[in-house]
């Protein structure tokens, strides 16, 4: 008791510090450190999933949809839709982080899917995939024909 009395200032400071660290660590709405690490799946394209692979996924699927897109009918089973513009609300972000299964992002604008994926990945969400009907978005579909006529 003497020790506690003599060091009460120090003990109070330790408790405050501990509480602040716990609050900071358990907060769901922050970005992870090391942006490069969390962007890695986008380099290898392991974050992209097509219909063939979606069919192999089991369990409940969360689908993040933008307001201009409707839920892809080909994905059946237990599905819950999440509006893209509310994806960072406390309810949805907790749902995504605690979900024990795949989280799919689908939009007719694939650029938007890419943006949302990057945000969620940087927040530490790991089983998030961009659902796309074809896997060739980054393939150049045209061939350049040089002009060989001398001007």
């Amino acid at each position: 008791m003497e020790i506690i009395k003599n060091n009460k200032v120090v003990i109070v400071l330790v408790v405050i510090l501990l509480v602040l660290v716990i609050i900071r660590s358990t907060s769901v709405n922050h970005f992870q450190s090391d942006a490069k690490r969390w962007a890695e799946p986008s380099v290898s394209q392991s974050n992209i999933i097509t219909l063939e692979n979606v069919k192999l996924l089991t369990g409940k699927k969360l689908i993040i949809l933008d307001k201009n897109s409707s839920s892809p009918g080909e994905i059946t089973g237990d599905v819950q839709n999440i509006p893209a513009d509310s994806v960072l609300s406390k309810i949805y972000i907790s749902l995504i982080k605690n979900h024990n299964g795949p989280v799919l992002i689908f939009s007719m604008d694939q650029g938007l899917s890419a943006r949302i994926w990057m945000i969620l990945s940087q927040m530490g969400c790991q089983s998030v995939y961009i659902y796309t009907k074809t896997s060739d978005n980054e393939l150049l579909k045209y061939k350049f024909r040089p002009d060989t006529i001398m001007h």
Partner: protein
Amino acid sequence: MNTRAKFSVVLLCLGLILAFLPRSGNSSFIVRPKNLLSELLDNNTYYSVDQVARFIISEDSTVQIIDLRKPEEFRTANIPGSINIPYYTLIDRNPGSILKNGKARNIFYSNGDFDSNYALAITRGLNIKNTYVMKGGLNEWYNTIMNSSFTGEKITARENAMFEARTKAKKMFTEMNSLPDSLKAKFFQTKHLTAKKLDGGCE
């Protein structure tokens, strides 16, 4: 207060400061998540291929077009005036140091939409504000600019202006990419010289 107590207090204060340090630095996003989402849902972060075509033909010096594809793809054909920073290089290094080029706008493009939008999300997350995306990528460029044609009997003034811009951009793209690599840099110098001569200005 004895020495040990003072030392303890100092350590605790340092710990407090560390706990409150912002999650910043070059390697993690510094913008708040909700603010970043709001920025990325904004359509003003896109430029269409027609807008990029106009930047190219006017040689707008406030714009830098950045090709995120692999070097071999860039060498085959690229948008005139663009520089090549492969996507994997952009995220490997500090994007801030690469993009501190004094340009009002840095416009990313890739073949499609994925890499350019990843790059946008990363740079905006690192609070680099002057980054944008050419919507649809090079596939859209080919589809709209390179394969541009007019069908019909009448054309409005606006359609005519758009078709003219597309034709000029297509010509520039074809001429530049038909040159051997060694002559591509000289291509732009020559264009500047030709334009000055037409203006009647002096060197």
